[in-house]
Symmetry: C2
């Protein structure tokens, strides 16, 4: 019997490296997670990645088609170079692709993690039947990827797709990037949680306040979602506001790109239906008339282990 074609997906994070063996349909056959030891510099991180891959492929019963790595930072994809990933001290420019390729003798594909998420949806997920779409990942940051004619759009230097740093209010709150009113400065995890904390005293009877009073529970997007499921007005208001802010920003992106399918993933996308309804309504109200009927706001299909799957998709995208 012929061996199954399998990709290794490596999701490089500041705390841990998640790795998996993934088949052509996006199914994870096996996965592991190891420390990235980012504080010890790039050499150590590269050693950890190699260790992880070795552990993963030690059984000889699969044919490894290639290795995909999703990494934070600016990526020069065609050279497999990772430059200055945030939270990775001492990196500068590291030829990660070549370093891994020479160890395993397999083709290695390195991509920015937001672009990898978009390619993951394109190959396995909600973008399989779409020629054009915009991918938004709602996490600590707000990542973006642009698919044009089934290809990732990289821009002049590989930095395209920073939709989280599209501003919806030139006088808005300061974003860590130095601009004001960026989408991320409203709906990025930390900004969102801080804004909600400020508002809690005005909603003393909300379920959110009650859930927090009981013990040392932390305020998280998940807790907001739980309260919303129980129909808490404050929680629903928060989610509606996130949806509107996202919608304002995405309407401009639609007008610029004439791309009307938008896939949203990441933790905050777990707000579910109330979020997607608010985004859809806002985008439809704000885009140019000829685009309105075509607008589709779609939940990402890759949820758990989206990072591993997106990274592995780089292999099938290229081969």
């Amino acid at each position: 019997m012929q061996k199954q074609k399998i990709a290794v997906g490596v999701d490089l994070g500041g705390t841990s490296i998640k790795l998996g063996l993934v088949d052509r349909t996006g199914k994870i056959l096996q996965k592991i997670s190891i420390d990235s030891f980012a504080a010890e510099g790039p050499k150590k991180v590269v050693t950890q990645i190699k260790l992880g891959i070795k552990e993963l492929i030690k059984n000889d019963n699969v044919k490894i088609e290639g290795i995909g790595i999703g990494s934070p930072g600016a990526i020069i994809a065609e050279k497999g170079i990772v430059a200055n990933p945030p939270n990775f001290p001492g990196w500068g420019r590291v030829p990660l692709g070549k370093l891994i390729e020479s160890e395993f003798g397999k083709r290695v594909y390195v991509e920015n993690d937001a672009n990898a998420a978009a390619i993951g949806e394109l190959i396995y997920g909600a973008g399989k039947n779409l020629n054009y779409f915009i991918m938004i990942t709602l996490g600590t940051g707000v990542g973006g990827g642009i698919i044009i004619n089934k290809k990732i759009y990289r821009g002049e230097t590989g930095g395209a797709g920073e939709i989280g740093h599209s501003s919806i209010d030139y006088n808005g709150p300061v974003c860590k990037c130095g601009s004001r009113g960026c989408i991320e400065a409203y709906v990025g995890n930390n900004y969102l949680i801080n804004n909600v904390k400020k508002d809690i005293p005005s909603y003393p009877n909300s379920l959110i306040s009650k859930m927090l009073q009981n013990d040392g529970t932390e305020l998280t997007p998940k807790l907001i979602y739980e309260a919303a499921k129980m129909n808490d007005g404050f929680a629903l208001k928060i989610i509606d506001d996130v949806g509107k802010k996202l919608g304002y920003g995405l309407a401009s992106v639609v007008n610029i790109l004439d791309i009307t399918s938008i896939i949203i993933g990441g933790g905050v996308a777990g707000f579910g239906k109330p979020l997607f309804n608010a985004v859809t309504k806002t985008v439809k109200e704000r885009v140019l008339i000829p685009f309105r009927a075509r607008v589709r706001i779609i939940p990402a299909k890759l949820k758990n282990d989206a990072g591993i799957k997106g990274a592995s998709a780089l292999v099938f995208y290229k081969s």
Copy 2:
């Protein structure tokens, strides 16, 4: 001696049709202007275009390579169809390309006027040596065109590049498109002039107020420019504000597209240096750090007859 290769450029407007014979370097050899009679419907307008072209090519001493038409409205470029151009009653969808092609037996290229302006700069102008740039045309509307790898980017349905309808303030002034805070709602000619009129009473000593008091002179961008040249504080403030508003919007576009060369043309671009300085400063302050050093805000090279030249460039772009 071989005949020179020449394109016909047709700049279709709601009031007049401007036509010219243009050589490969963008030089206009001959030009005419005729009424468009838009109120009489598409048949009449098409007859007028044909009349104009006949008049233009009646001398047999040039070889016509093809005919380019820059038109308002939504264009299906590959089919030469013009759909619902604003200020042209009764159009719906008109197969303008085929109608002209069958009359003259020459290849006809139809393109949205904002895209034609971008292609004009690409073929003859400030974009000749650029692989990627964004073109902004500041007129009654704020048009946009996106050049990716020396090709115009059309999006899914040919409607891409509506940068004038990128919003910089979700709570900003209502735009005629139905959204709020669009770049056009600040710097489009009519919006700009109306805003300045409102502010005039607060600046009774400005040159602008004085120039207007004398007689029936109308407030125009040109008058503001003249006052600014004489160092009028109010005029310089207006121009600086236009530059900032444009800059806020363009910074988001740069972050989304990773395209850092921006060519600005159209009437309001005549504000010159104070405008370009304000746009450059604002964009550099607001884009993500890796883009900052690369930002270039460039005046359009095609000024007079940019419409004719842009339309004619469609022929050399394709052939």
